[in-house]
Symmetry: C2
Subunit: 475 residues, 2 copies
């Protein structure tokens, strides 16, 4: 493996950061290239700089090109001459900036030489193999701003035309979901999302695939839908270029002809993809499909448990295709026994702020265990004094509600989601509780509306697959 464009002096240059990433994950097959040669220290390793690809002791399997667009053409030619078969082009400055000539020339060389090319205009690949030494990480972002905990279960693949969107989604998912592979594929000179799905769909561990698309190359759309239609795991997609202004913006970002959105949407639905209508929904859906993989969807009968009356109304207003469960006499009497008398037992259960962690959790457990209930949505207003919700309370009290709910969700094979209605800001005092639930495997959102919507998407997807209700899916 070679990185072309490792700096002799700037530790923050993309090439140098990529080399550092690779050394840190134990790639001992790395060659660094700089025309001036010499030696540099990178991430506490002393690294020799080769003057060019031709002077490497072996032909690299992958060449990562980080030099500017103009200079990359010569590197591609050299790589082709040596018989390299895989190129990753990081720099921008190609078709998206009016230099389609450069991209065309590279495409021709690559086609003639049988080279696969990823990029240009991208962050490249983050790939975590079971053997760390075989992984890849070309995301050249300072560690203080982006760092993944790769020790945890790696359960998604994320393919994003935009590197920044990938970073943002992975940051916002950091407590709950971790990529086995994340690819920022940029201008798709050659490798496109269809190739990526085809290559990675059977990769072990991946429970859901998220894709961000700005546009397809001519002819690539049909192939993409053919490939994704056969996927056995859920694919959640967001497509930009929904308006005329948006289409122009994708053109100057990743040189994408976005086309007519309505047509693309219909084709995506027909391929059985989960189509997110907003970027927020893309994140929210990817999270629930990855986290609740393996849960069983028996039907649409849903119970809601909350400690605030307005969230009861909000959840009810956002049922969508879910239905309120009809509680059996047995469930009702078990709930009545567990709950104080001022709580009215019903499938939209408003516990009021006057119950403690234990009673709150117990009522959720009873709902989830009830045979007539297929799914549960919990909405927590964390201000109630009787439950332990602040960072301090969560850290000091093991029996806190968040920990209890995560345990209950893990023990059940039914889908369950949570809303904790508080956002960020400079001193969010409820962040730890969200982290406890998310990292415990319980998808947590910032509003009942979100939680209900994504639960609906999850139930709908599996229900429709099971029942083969294709017409309904096309809605």
């Amino acid at each position: 493996m070679a990185v072309v464009g490792v700096s002799r002096s700037d530790p923050n240059s993309p090439g140098t950061v990529i080399a550092a990433n690779m050394l840190k994950i134990g790639r001992d097959d790395l060659f660094c290239v700089n025309p001036k040669g010499g030696n540099v220290d990178i991430a506490d390793f002393e690294v020799k700089l080769y003057n060019n690809l031709s002077s490497l002791p072996a032909v690299p399997e992958l060449v990562i090109v980080t030099v500017p667009a103009e200079a990359s053409l010569a590197v591609v030619k050299e790589a082709a001459g040596l018989g390299c078969k895989n190129l990753l082009l990081i720099p921008g400055g190609f078709t998206e900036s009016g230099r389609s000539d450069l991209e065309d020339q590279i495409a021709e060389i690559a086609a003639d030489a049988g080279i696969r090319v990823m990029g240009p205009n991208c962050l490249g690949i983050l790939y975590a193999d079971e053997e760390p030494a075989k992984g890849l990480n070309t995301f050249f972002i300072p560690e203080t701003k982006f760092k993944l905990d790769l020790e945890r279960e790696k359960n998604i693949a994320l393919f994003s035309q935009s590197g920044a969107l990938g970073l943002v989604e992975l940051t916002n998912l950091k407590d709950s979901v971790c990529p086995k592979v994340a690819v920022s594929y940029g201008n798709q000179l050659d490798v496109d999302p269809g190739d990526l799905v085809e290559y990675f769909q059977d990769e072990s561990g991946i429970k859901a695939i998220g894709i961000y698309i700005e546009g397809f190359k001519p002819g690539a759309g049909r192939r993409f839908f053919e490939i994704t239609r056969r996927s056995r795991i859920p694919i959640v997609i967001y497509k930009a270029g929904r308006t005329a202004a948006g289409q122009m913006a994708t053109q100057s970002h990743t040189a994408s002809m976005a086309g007519e959105y309505a047509v693309a949407r219909a084709a995506m639905k027909q391929a059985g993809l989960v189509v997110a209508d907003t970027m927020a929904d893309h994140l929210g859906c990817l999270k629930i499909f990855a986290m609740l993989h393996g849960k069983k969807v028996g039907g649409r009968q849903t119970a809601v448990v909350t400690n605030a009356g307005y969230e009861k109304a909000n959840a009810a207003d956002n049922l969508k295709e879910l239905e309120l469960a009809e509680l059996s006499g047995k469930t009702s009497s078990m709930l009545a026994e567990a709950l104080p008398s001022f709580v009215t037992v019903e499938p939209l259960l408003d516990l009021t702020p006057m119950v403690d962690d234990e009673i709150f959790a117990r009522s959720v457990e009873l709902m989830l265990d009830a045979p007539e209930v297929d799914a549960v949505c919990v909405s927590i207003v964390p201000h109630a004094g009787m439950i332990h919700t602040t960072d301090d309370e969560v850290d000091s009290y093991e029996g806190n509600l968040g920990a209890r709910l995560a345990k209950i969700a893990a023990a059940s094979d039914k889908p369950m989601v949570v809303s904790l209605t508080a956002t960020g800001g400079g001193d969010n005092i409820f962040g730890r509780m969200i982290e406890v639930m998310d990292s415990g495997g319980l998808p947590t959102y910032l509003s009942a509306e979100q939680a209900m919507s994504y639960l609906n998407e999850f139930v709908r997807y599996h229900y429709i697959r099971q029942q083969n209700l294709i017409d309904e899916w096309m809605k």
Copy 2:
């Protein structure tokens, strides 16, 4: 002022917490009532407990009732007999729990005696007078979970049928907006949101009113629209009970007959209200109308500045009724001079991750100052290495982007909004930056979609008022 139901032993009882709140804000006209009498320590004050209202040394202007529903009837009778004119009923357990008989009896007594009643089933009133000693605070929430910085500008009124929704909104707005008055009005036995708007609309300092409504009492809807129609400040409303299930939920929460949502929505639009379609939008709109009060809306010509191509596409896809500004030759050349050559100058300005705080801020300033630009939306992907965005960086570098943008926004009379695409979780490292911008007067949201949507609502409201485009408003 009297609080009935102050506990002799439980410092967390609603009555005791309310008494503590009042003592802390310097109310020295507070009487506490408990049938058993005696003395208790509350918030480091020694407080005498009177056996009943009749034994108080004076007739209180306001009686706050915190005893259970059943017991409150006797208190109301006693208050009426003494000639008290204002009652605040905190407890639930009335019509929403099937005890409309209790509510009816109280209503009759109040009507006969000319008493105004707020509640029941509510958190009551938070009112910050210029003289702290004249304020009110009946929100009985532990200080560790809810605390407002009342030193800052108090710029909104929030009237919510639900106490919990009020708490959640005030928590999520804490860095940017502060209530002059917040009322949780519950079952509206007497006082309803129409009364509240009528009473507070001319209160000094209030720049926007937010209202959450579950339903109107018979006949109260028409009066509400008559009153709000005359309001000179923006009123942002969210109404629950949008579906059959939601209507049933409001009935059992605050005894509200929600009625047909489509009719209510049309009436709200006709009254000139800003109608939020989701609870998230209610918060987002209230924030922008309060914070940008005083900014001038010259037209719909908008510029977008971002450091990520996908956010350029996202902003463009969410223009709605805003239009992309056409940059003059002068603006274009000033931008070209300020920016590196790899940035393409256009109204959808993608700075790429390769610009620093100073250049980023300067380009925003040039856009905002351009005569052909009416409004600016900035979208920041905080992972870029060249800008100072993490909590550590913001704290250690005065010239950080957030501080610069807040200063630029404050110096301009045009509306400007920001998106910072990162949410919460347990260790959100970008929270301080959001806080710096929000508390600096620059409305900051978690996605370009949100930022564009709320900017659109703000521009639309003022533009339509100025141009008198009533038909367009009804959309």
